[in-house]
């Protein structure tokens, strides 16, 4: 179920639309109107909010063209912005390193055992069915100072006696990686599961080493899955504020842009700053995604 959703965008449309008419318009109207009203208009109102100037009343703002807001938030939160993208890239890379072999194992090696294969797929999507906040909190307990991981690492002298895992950049990236593995694994699995194994045979018949077959045949053919998986990981990871929140895995030195937006909007009621940061986050992501999709040559994904 979830699988089709993640790679459906990359699936080619086989039967071309043949009829046209007013019906199409009627079918589109309600849904498109909904998205315009509750997706586009909010983005516009974010842009307007981001340019507002403070008024005399606390938490109230007046319309204006305060471009200074953007300069202010970049100056004030540049560190958190950079950190968010660094963490997101790290989490994406780690999630890919964990997910690709797993997806390959389930999608290619397990093909001869369909029952086991679908069982393993269910294990991969199992995290979707249990609250991700509770899973993250479970890691917090496991990685806590009294938890088994820290005591084991201390016994092995890998960690110093005063060291922590929770509240560090390590645990934030760890949490992000963990939370997005299913999102990375499923699209890759879907492309690998459809991969025609005869191409691999053809490769080795042409005297390619297994590594060369992988690099020249398997990897390019699974690229659409890798691209959607990395996007489904990178985008939400860059804006996440749960893992980096101090009640979860983060600390004061690992705050991400999501935390800053949240606290500005919901705690400090500094709506212009929160809006400016949101617009910046979205703009940076769109640029990165645009370049990435262009370079990976899978533009039909959009």
């Amino acid at each position: 179920m979830a699988i089709t959703a993640f790679t459906g965008a990359a699936a080619p449309t086989t039967n071309q639309p043949t009829r046209h008419g007013r019906i199409a318009f009627l079918l589109l109207l309600p849904g498109i109107a909904y998205l315009v009203l509750f997706f586009i208009v909010p983005l516009v109102s974010l842009v307007i909010t981001s340019l507002e100037a403070p008024s005399t009343v606390y938490g109230a703002y007046v319309y204006g063209f305060e471009w200074q807001n953007y300069a202010d938030v970049i100056g004030q939160y540049g560190e958190q912005i950079g950190r968010s993208f660094l963490y997101a890239v790290l989490a994406t890379v780690f999630a890919l390193l964990i997910s690709y072999p797993l997806a390959y194992f389930i999608g290619v090696r397990m093909r001869s055992k369909p029952v086991l294969q679908s069982f393993l797929v269910i294990l991969v999507i199992a995290p979707f069915f249990i609250s991700f906040l509770l899973r993250t909190l479970a890691w917090k307990q496991i990685l806590s100072d009294e938890g088994p991981v820290v005591s084991a690492l201390k016994a092995l002298s890998i960690l110093g006696p005063q060291a922590h895992l929770t509240g560090t950049p390590f645990s934030v990236v760890f949490g992000l990686t963990y939370n997005f593995i299913p999102f990375m694994c499923l699209p890759i699995y879907t492309t690998l599961e459809r991969l025609d194994l005869r191409y691999l045979e053809a490769g080795s018949d042409l005297y390619a080493s297994p590594a060369a077959v992988f690099r020249r045949v398997t990897l390019p053919l699974s690229l659409p899955g890798v691209v959607s998986g990395t996007l489904l990981t990178f985008i939400p990871a860059a804006g996440d504020y749960v893992n980096a929140s101090q009640e979860f895995l983060g600390g004061t030195s690992s705050t991400m842009i999501g935390n800053v937006i949240q606290s500005n909007f919901l705690v400090q009621l500094n709506y212009p700053a929160a809006a400016a940061l949101s617009i910046l986050l979205m703009a940076i992501i769109l640029v990165i995604v645009g370049v990435y999709v262009k370079r990976s040559g899978t533009e039909d994904l959009l």
């Binding site: 086989t14 998205l35 390959y104 294990l123 991969v124 906040l133 709506y271 992501i285 995604v289």
Partner: protein, 292 residues
């Protein structure tokens, strides 16, 4: 080379491959043969550790905070709703999830039908509009909607959460149903029309039943997205608690074990549903397969 010679030669080659070649080719793989399964099992264990932790701690005989293990008990399971707020939040989540799923599934299916079955101008723009919410970080959508509700003077509550959830589920419904609709064989509809079915009859008797698995999958996906959403919800919830916002706010003072109980129950139900549907699907596929 005559035919026989060719046959003999190919038999020789085949024998050669059976005896020597496979061993030579297999030897560099022996490490790989064990490496990949081991790695995959470790990755799956990593994926499942917090799930097991959450389930196990639903049986913890905890007093206030459910952090240290204090012994096994079933008590939490019988006193789920004793903790103030947990069941209320859970009920809200169900109500919001069901409403948002119905709305998003209807709206999204209509769009998916238009995209797969009709030619129209502005198609690229529609596709982009569907893709954008999936490419926007949740915190941006959450802040945007909250800013909009703020400037429109709308009070946050269950209604605003439903509006937000319908919005982000919509794109996922379109993509899921579209994938199903574009894999349908157009010949089936043509056959329906050949048998004098009117377009309406063909749609309801042929197309819709074929689309139904995709629509159901989309609805399930919507519900699970809505049920587990925290970031957008937190921006638009006001004083209302959903199950995830309850956990988030309770995290500072310690999560009661009843949260684990609810999460575990939902998890078990969902897994049972998924396994059942996959077994049914397998049985149906076997029945439809032509004999022989």
């Amino acid at each position: 080379m005559t035919l026989q010679e060719g046959a003999v030669l190919s038999r020789e080659v085949a024998r050669e491959e059976q005896s020597g070649a496979p061993k030579a080719r297999r030897s560099p793989f022996t490490l790989g043969r064990w490496l990949l399964p081991t790695y995959s099992v470790l990755a799956l264990v990593f994926l499942l550790v917090p799930i097991v932790y959450t389930i196990v701690f639903s049986f913890n005989s905890s007093v206030k905070s459910n952090i240290a293990w204090r012994g096994f008990t079933f008590r939490n399971w019988f006193t789920v709703c004793d903790q103030p707020g947990v069941c209320q939040a859970f009920g809200n989540s169900i109500l919001i999830g069901v409403t948002a799923t119905v709305l998003a599934t209807v709206l999204g299916t209509l769009i998916a039908l238009a995209l797969t079955r009709y030619r129209f101008r502005g198609r690229a723009a529609v596709n982009l509009l569907i893709f954008l919410p999936m490419a926007t970080p949740e915190v941006v959508m959450g802040a945007g909607l909250a800013a909009q509700f703020l400037s429109a003077g709308i009070d946050k509550g269950i209604g605003t959460i439903i509006i937000a959830h319908t919005m982000f589920c919509l794109s996922f419904v379109v993509v899921t149903v579209k994938a199903r609709a574009s894999s349908l064989d157009p010949a089936l509809e043509a056959a329906g029309a050949d048998l004098y079915g009117s377009p309406t009859v063909v749609f309801w008797r042929v197309t819709f039943p074929l689309l139904l698995p995709g629509i159901l999958a989309a609805a399930l996906l919507s519900f699970s997205l809505s049920f587990d959403d925290f970031i957008i919800t937190y921006f638009n919830a006001g004083a209302v608690n959903t199950f995830p916002t309850y956990i988030y706010t309770a995290a500072t003072r310690g999560i009661p074990a009843s949260a684990n109980v609810i999460a575990t129950a939902v998890f078990v139900l969902a897994i049972v549903a998924v396994v059942t549907s996959s077994v049914i699907g397998r049985m149906r596929a076997r029945r439809l397969r032509p004999p022989g």
